[in-house]
């Protein structure tokens, strides 16, 4: 999952980036409203965390522009202005969720998780279950028939992305785009390594390889 964090308060952004990365999200960070308004059109993101009080351009205006430009990306608005009338204004401008500052980081992670799942049509239960494979996003492990299977950060991020797009062909290039941030080195070999480790842990049939096309998540189902 690749996220765009738009927040002008550097210490908060630092803390959030640190936390979001441990949750297996690849994050890009922007500070200026003018840069932010173009970013989702130029890069591929799975969700945006948007602060409203931005230098350069107001967050609500940016959001309205995005929605006017038919950008369907899930957006979580993060703001100090969290009265109900502000919330309604944010939702009417096209926000998918609204979180008032200050917030508990766990709350942000939970809302983000639910937001991304919803945007992929998955339910918001604590465990992500796709094709009988159960992923615990909180603990970054798989609940297998023989107990808990721990995953590395890279494996977890890859598996989660695959599980949110079941039975679809995902190219290495596409996966890299969604799993690594702008400044990360995109090496398709890393993805191959993670896929191979996941197959070792969960069984060969969980991820199918289509030569020259990419990977398909099949899960434990037939």
């Amino acid at each position: 999952m690749r996220l765009l964090l738009i927040e002008d308060h550097v210490p908060l952004a630092d803390e959030l980036l640190r936390r979001l990365r441990t949750e297996g999200y690849a994050c890009d960070w922007l500070v200026d409203g003018r840069d932010a308004s173009r970013a989702p059109f130029d890069e591929v993101y799975d969700a945006v965390i948007l602060d409203l009080g931005l230098p350069g351009k107001n967050g609500l205006d940016i959001l309205r522009e995005w929605r006017a430009g038919k950008l369907a990306l899930p957006v979580l608005v993060l703001t100090a202005r969290n009265s109900w009338s502000d919330r309604i204004a944010g939702l009417e401008a096209g926000a998918d969720d609204y979180l008032g500052k200050p917030f508990h980081p766990d709350e942000l992670v939970l809302r983000l998780r639910a937001l991304i799942r919803r945007s992929h049509g998955a339910d918001a239960s604590p465990l992500l279950t796709v094709n009988e494979l159960v992923l615990d996003e909180g603990r970054q492990c798989v609940d297998g028939p023989e107990g808990e299977i721990p995953l590395t950060g890279g494996e977890f991020a890859l598996l989660r992305y695959l599980m949110l797009h079941p039975d679809k062909i995902l190219s290495k290039w596409q996966l890299a785009e969604h799993l690594y941030s702008m400044d990360a080195e995109r090496n398709s070999n890393v993805i191959e390594v993670h896929v191979s480790h996941l197959r070792d842990k969960l069984g060969k049939s969980v991820i199918e390889t289509r030569r020259g096309q990419g990977y398909i998540f099949r899960g434990l189902g037939s």
Binding site: L12, A80, S83, L91, P102, F103, P105
Partner: protein
């Protein structure tokens, strides 16, 4: 009107001033007229008396037996008893008295210097003016004393004076009545200004009308300047408070995040008390921010329309709680409440937020209009609060921190704060759905007649 009129009344003071001036003036005129009349009357009577003396002197004739009074030449009034015209003529050892004197003695003092008028009481309540003069005729020395009654003139004057006084009093009364209504008219701009101030209080008006009499204009301008300054100061401090609150929230968010770091989580005691303190700061800020709301001095910017504003609020709550409830909204169509939209959303948002936390599946929002107030009710089918004391506590809980449910009661306290800025009240009750029902009463803004 005020039941106890204030001690100082312009109208009364002016009335008293007019009364005093007119009374003094009236008395002075009366006294002046009295003196003037006295003088004129004295001259008239004196002339009359002097003429009578001349005529009497002419009526003295000489016959062989000595001097006699020619009756034919005498004024008949001298023969009518107590007619008011009298004479006494003394010569040698004899004295002639007019018949009109009857048996009245007129004390003619010999010490009276001749030719001097003297006033004295006469018979039958008459007022006499008396003149004695000495003449020499037919070689005899005559002393002629003539007295003339002038009481009828005095009576006439007193009648005139009474009439004058009556007319004067009438004029005084009419002046006071006219003055009163003039004052009422003149003071009309003052009572208009008063009702305009009430309108300003109700937020229906920005400034006092400056179309007032010249004398009031400086006062009205001064009040307007004061209003402007107060409004500025108020919005400045509100703005500053809002800014401070919002500015603190981002660093607080950093702290909230920092406190969840692994290093701190490993010190549960420290972690817990840091979290508690941070939560308290957050709640404190939220409450202070809610108190910086309320009716603004410049009136309602946007009224609250349930038709338009409630569905998005319910939608926002569903998203915030990620839970759908059967929400029933009961209010008249096209309703407009004369309160700030953002404040009403904050009140209902907090009440619904609370309902969302506790409700089983149903929430009922009712808004209706009473003659003097608006009534908002939010009911849920949750566990409710059965004991009345606990209900009071639930409202007070916003001040303290209940660690079992973060921010529990805070929403109710914030709603109560905002309701209080509109001079309304909030109370908790048993809901017909089985859970808690929050009643909010908001008095209608009163522009006049308070």
């Amino acid at each position: 009107m005020n039941p106890a009129p204030p001690a100082h009344s312009l109208r009364r003071q002016l009335g008293i001033a007019v009364l005093v001036v007119l009374t003094v003036l009236g008395s002075a005129v009366a006294i002046g007229a009295n003196i003037l009349f006295d003088r004129i009357q004295a001259r008239v009577i004196e002339a009359d008396v002097a003429a009578s003396t001349e005529r009497l002197l002419a009526a003295i004739r000489m016959a062989g037996s000595g001097p006699f009074l020619d009756q034919a030449r005498l004024d008949p009034a001298y023969n009518r008893p107590l007619s008011g015209h009298y004479f006494i003529i003394s010569f040698a050892d004899r004295q002639w008295r007019s018949r009109s004197l009857w048996d009245t003695e007129i004390a003619v003092s010999t010490s009276d210097p001749p030719g001097r008028y003297r006033s004295m009481p006469g018979p039958d309540g008459q007022q006499l003016l008396l003149l004695s003069r000495d003449f020499t005729r037919f070689g005899q020395r005559f002393t002629i004393t003539v007295a003339s009654d002038y009481s009828h003139l005095v009576a006439e004057f007193h009648r005139g004076l009474a009439l004058f006084t009556a007319l004067w009093l009438l004029a005084l009364g009419m002046t006071l009545i006219t003055l009163n209504s003039w004052m009422a008219r003149a003071l009309q701009p003052v009572s208009r200004a008063r009702s305009q101030v009430a309108e300003i209080q109700a937020g229906e008006r920005q400034a006092l009308d400056e179309d007032v009499p010249l004398e009031l204009l400086p006062l009205i301008r001064q009040i307007n300047a004061l209003l402007e300054e107060t409004r500025h100061a108020l919005s400045r401090s509100r703005y500053a408070l809002g800014n401070l609150g919002h500015a603190l929230k981002t660093p607080l968010a950093v702290l909230f995040t920092l406190v969840e770091r692994e290093q701190l989580r490993q010190l549960p005691e420290l972690h817990q008390s840091l979290r508690t303190q941070l939560d308290q700061i957050d709640q404190r800020i939220s409450r202070e921010l809610s108190q910086s709301q309320g009716p603004s001095a410049s009136g309602v910017q946007q009224s609250f329309a349930p038709d338009r504003d409630l569905p998005p609020l319910v939608d926002a709550l569903e998203r915030a709680h990620r839970r759908r409830l059967a929400v029933e909204l009961r209010h008249a169509a096209g309703l407009m409440l004369p309160f700030e939209r953002a404040d009403m959303l904050e009140v209902l948002g907090n009440l619904l937020d609370n309902a969302w936390k506790w409700a089983g599946s149903r929430v009922l929002v009712t808004i209706d209009e009473a003659p003097a107030e608006w009534r908002l009710r939010v009911a849920d089918d949750g566990p409710g609060i059965d004991v009345p004391d606990d209900r009071e506590q639930a409202l007070a809980r916003g001040y303290r921190l209940d660690e079992s449910v973060a921010g529990q009661g805070l929403g109710l306290a914030i709603a109560a704060d905002i309701v209080a800025t509109y001079r309304g009240s909030l109370r908790l009750d048993h809901s017909p759905l089985g859970g808690l029902e929050v009643h909010v009463q908001l008095p209608k803004p009163q522009g006049r007649n308070y």
